[in-house]
Symmetry: D2
Subunit: 364 residues, 4 copies
């Protein structure tokens, strides 16, 4: 029962294994959903209409897997992707779950931890390359502190630079052709995380040895946790040629990391985002880094995944409408003429709201 | 050119004189709009379709007006209301603009200031009664502190109680029949304001001499400044029989007091609010305590005011749709049966989003 | 090596079993510390100088323990408390970990879940009474929603009332003599939690059948998550005779629930809090509901626990100093005389800061 | 009565004319202090011990002053600075007060407004150069939006780049030798401000024609409004060689722009900041961009200004103590040895707290 909001491969909708595979654990309760084996996740994603599947190394290969196990698992996964017609556009590395990373990975005070993190990331790059990924995301979720007594923050930045430089070298050496995308977050699970915003990452990149290989992966929820305008952050990244990937989800400002279904918390902000991506012709993956409520079973997970994509497509349609709505465009045409008059932004925003709510052009 | 979103008197839409009369001053810039005399504000409100006009004492009568001037001004205002068919459902008192209130009014350390505040409020009650208002709002915008060295906070509560008790007595003595509505706010213009949330007011009311006369006036922006779910606060007030008035506007959490056009920042939260008010049969005023962007002239102010009301009516229509949407109601009917299954909340919320965006029931 | 900041029983410092027993799990990583058996936690608490130990039912007795196991466990725990000289001032119930509570306990849509929650709480009250607790805390961590489609929030309040009324009856019937203390939290683990602030609880209590039995248990972190002034909330509770218990910890506003060591995030706010509690003569437990950083082993847990108590005692000393500091008291004596002069609050606050930093009265 | 916390010129403490000259206006009340003529402000700053005075163009010269008036005013101001021994280390431009800037200055939709803003800034640079300033700060307080309908955010960035490039050219042409310092802010007075964080500015600078001339001016309050760790932002700027200036004040996260006395809201964060600046050898101005509470007269303004500097000096002393405290340094020496042990951060942070509170090294 396809309709005009049915996802198609050209929409480039992708999900992480960890998103549909999220089992509902939170700080106050344990898992509520059975494990979803990666090959089943691939089937589920194909069923709901996704184009791509992304992964952390350990979403697929257990951290303690033998080489033989690793190879078998990867082989089965590739077969499942082939069978279901899914691609792996992006890979990343888990530098946060293992207790060794409890004080960070690339920025940890212990040189042994830093070396382990680097080695683990290189292996994750190997895996990503093997699966055909061209984008490699780095999210330093534990690169931070609860007390700034533990290290000087400029030392952390130096360590982070050293690591990213080494990873760029590795990608060049192996001819992986990866674009590295840095993902910022202000806090959680650490009290404060270094490189707290997409802007901070954009400021860090030009200080690298290979700035041309490194861009950003802004995430709606992470920027909105700090109450920042996500579209502005995305626009800065895009304008600087650094929007290598994007994480779509939703979040109420000033709270724990919620990773809600795309568009479900602030649909107006989601609208401006979709409009921006479509207007500028962003052609990378639309990756949903979100998960279903803890109240759901896997049927609810399907609803969640379908909802992310449907909302994107509804907003895409609304964005096109906005660009062709005569009343709106008449106001847009006047934007440059300020003079001493009012600027008409209340009217423009109200028409936008009415368009968003589906009551423009109904003779309403 | 009326349509089904055209305001009518039975919708009970009201605006404060200070809302359409807001001149655009902010901490970093001065006024941008000419003064709007109260009688002109009445005309403007009538033109856009409002039912009621509310006021602080000094929105109408300058603080230093002579008794004769005061009476003339009131007479002209009443005439304008009559002429334009507007009522005055609510009155309030300005206890924040005058420098004497720089450390609070009812809670000020100086007994003289407290006495002045009480006297000023009684006069404002006289004015409100003369204009036919039945609701009297108390917003203690300066009742707070930047440093808790200045007074013990329990002392502030005692002073506040003494003042509200005296005002209840005054209303009884004069047979004004006022319902007093307390309006909470967490901060701004003070570092912290006492009675920071609607919940705090609900906790305070039962400690008064005449709790039956006192309720609350929750404001969207004030509750959302603290990142709280406004509908939950309104529901608690309603359920306790204390929803005497309501201030509708919008606000991004964790910021300065924005007083945006209703529904313009978080339309989903606005939807649940309208749905709640309509479902429970709230029949008080729908008061918009908001103002136009500083970019606007008075034509933009009209757009702003019309937009507040249209959005309310659109959301009201959507709420009715929600109550009769077969797909949604089928899920609602199952809400009590949890068992070990998923609860279907992702699906229910996604259907709500699609209904809100106007794509349910289109065969979409 | 006792000094003047060494905790003594009369300070009434207590910790929950779950605080020193916290194993460091968070949304992005698993446990990092071995389980701490309750009897070992008692020993650890005695070692660091605590007076009391509090618990959720399942901190001590596994949810699936047989009656015989339950009795044996309780017996051993009581023996350990006796041996180490610790009391159990407060007990509470875990209504959040079990998957059955994934959509709430007392407010769940499923009547079976609500009944189970009530039964479980009664058993927890039995346990608390058996251990000698006189305060029973209710924290409804899962009583909330991610989407307000799932239930009307006033219905949730009615269900909550029904449950608390039933629990009061139970306490009366069994002659347990419990004072029930409601603990508020704005969000996490739910998107929004009903009864989001201490104020909301204070508004709810007067609507109960036995309001005299029910008070509040304000928590620093929970109130500060919403950016609210914690001391003001505590003062309102105290002034209303409802400060039945208190949860001390620390938190940066607008973030995930951090439960940091007392005083470690905002020591000035902690100072005003300690000063208030000491000035008014609060004589209930000083309960620390916090946990050690995830970087720590059990030696670090001891440091954490000692630090909570030392900071409290340092601030208590500073509060006494404030009350006897001649320069400060001279300013305090003038607080009621506003007139047209400046109020001297900058000076008063700066002297407070200098006192807090330990440079008053040094001839500095 | 000098003590070891008495400011001296080598501390490089500076204040803006607008800080001690702040008259206490806020969104809910008018001015409470008489105007402070610039020459009197200079005298006041000299009296309290400041080294430098900074200014916006219109803090000194009214926007509509004739050239002759302008020259006379500047001459008198220079004389006052000479007389009182104050320098002018930094100048800036007011692009926010005049109604023409109601929709931005460099990013306004109206090309005439953009041209006016550029011209006005060049004149402010002339003024700054004439006064001997070597740092020119750019704060785009109105460069933002309430609705993203008004312009595409990448277009705003392009306009901003064009303006900053032109200003760099101007400084080069005139041989002014200015270092330009961009000051970020997330919101207020606009709903959202472009270049919301120091990180965003650091990302923007490398895209300029003369990145070597442009750095940042991080402000405590602005970063903390978004709940970000200010020291981390400063460290990134410093490490990139871009810490050209700094604005010291204080702020509770998630609120209106408070501009409180340095160290008065979060003294621990202020401690880490002072420690960082002193440890790395930052030798630029310590500029206080704050103002006295609205409760104060000019005696209170003096207290406020003195308090900013005293707190800085107290924290500087504490920072030195930290670096030489044997117990603390023993822990610091172990930071790199993680192994499987706990990391001792609770202990380290608690010792820091005790040092901060002045109870280390007392045999306490």
């Amino acid at each position: 029962m396809a309709d005009r909001y049915t996802p198609r491969p050209e929409h480039k909708f992708s999900f992480g294994l960890w998103t549909v595979g999220n089992r509902g654990r939170d700080p106050f309760g344990d898992v509520v959903r059975e494990p979803l084996p990666p090959v089943d996740a691939v089937a589920l994603l194909a069923e709901v209409g996704a184009w791509g599947v992304n992964l952390h190394d350990n979403d697929l290969v257990p951290i303690d897997a033998s080489p033989a196990d690793r190879d078998r698992i990867v082989k089965e996964f590739k077969a499942a992707c082939r069978q279901h017609g899914l691609v792996v556009p992006m890979a990343t590395v888990n530098l946060f779950y293992d207790p060794r990373f409890r004080d960070g990975a690339f920025t940890a005070n212990d040189a042994g931890v830093r070396a382990f993190a680097l080695q683990k990331t290189k292996s994750a790059m190997d895996l990503g390359a093997e699966l055909g990924a061209k984008i490699f995301v780095l999210w330093g979720g534990r690169e931070g502190s609860e007390t700034d007594a533990c290290r000087r923050p400029d030392e952390a930045i130096k360590r982070l630079r050293e690591a990213v430089n080494a990873l760029c070298e590795y990608s060049i050496d192996r001819k992986y052709g990866f674009k590295l995308a840095l993902e910022a977050k202000p806090n959680e699970p650490r009290g404060d995380i270094y490189m707290a915003t997409t802007g901070a990452s954009l400021g860090f990149i030009p200080t690298l040895d290979h700035p041309e290989l490194v861009g950003v992966n802004p995430e709606v929820a992470h920027e909105q946790m700090a109450g920042l305008n996500f579209v502005h952050a995305v626009a800065q990244a895009w304008e600087a040629g650094k929007l290598f990937h994007i994480d779509l989800n939703d979040q109420v400002p000033g709270r724990y990391d919620q990773d809600f279904r795309f568009g479900s918390a602030n649909v107006k902000s989601a609208f401006w985002l979709v409009k921006f991506l479509e207007d500028v012709g962003y052609d990378g993956p639309r990756h949903f880094d979100a998960h279903a409520y803890r109240t759901e079973d896997y049927e609810g997970v399907r609803d969640f995944a379908r909802g992310c994509m449907r909302t994107y497509l509804i907003l895409r349609e609304r964005a096109k409408q906005w660009n062709s709505d005569a009343g709106i465009q008449a106001l847009v045409a006047e934007l440059g003429n300020q003079g001493s008059r009012g600027l008409g932004y209340e009217r423009l925003d109200q028409l936008t709201m009415e368009l968003l709510l589906g009551v423009r052009g109904e003779g309403a």
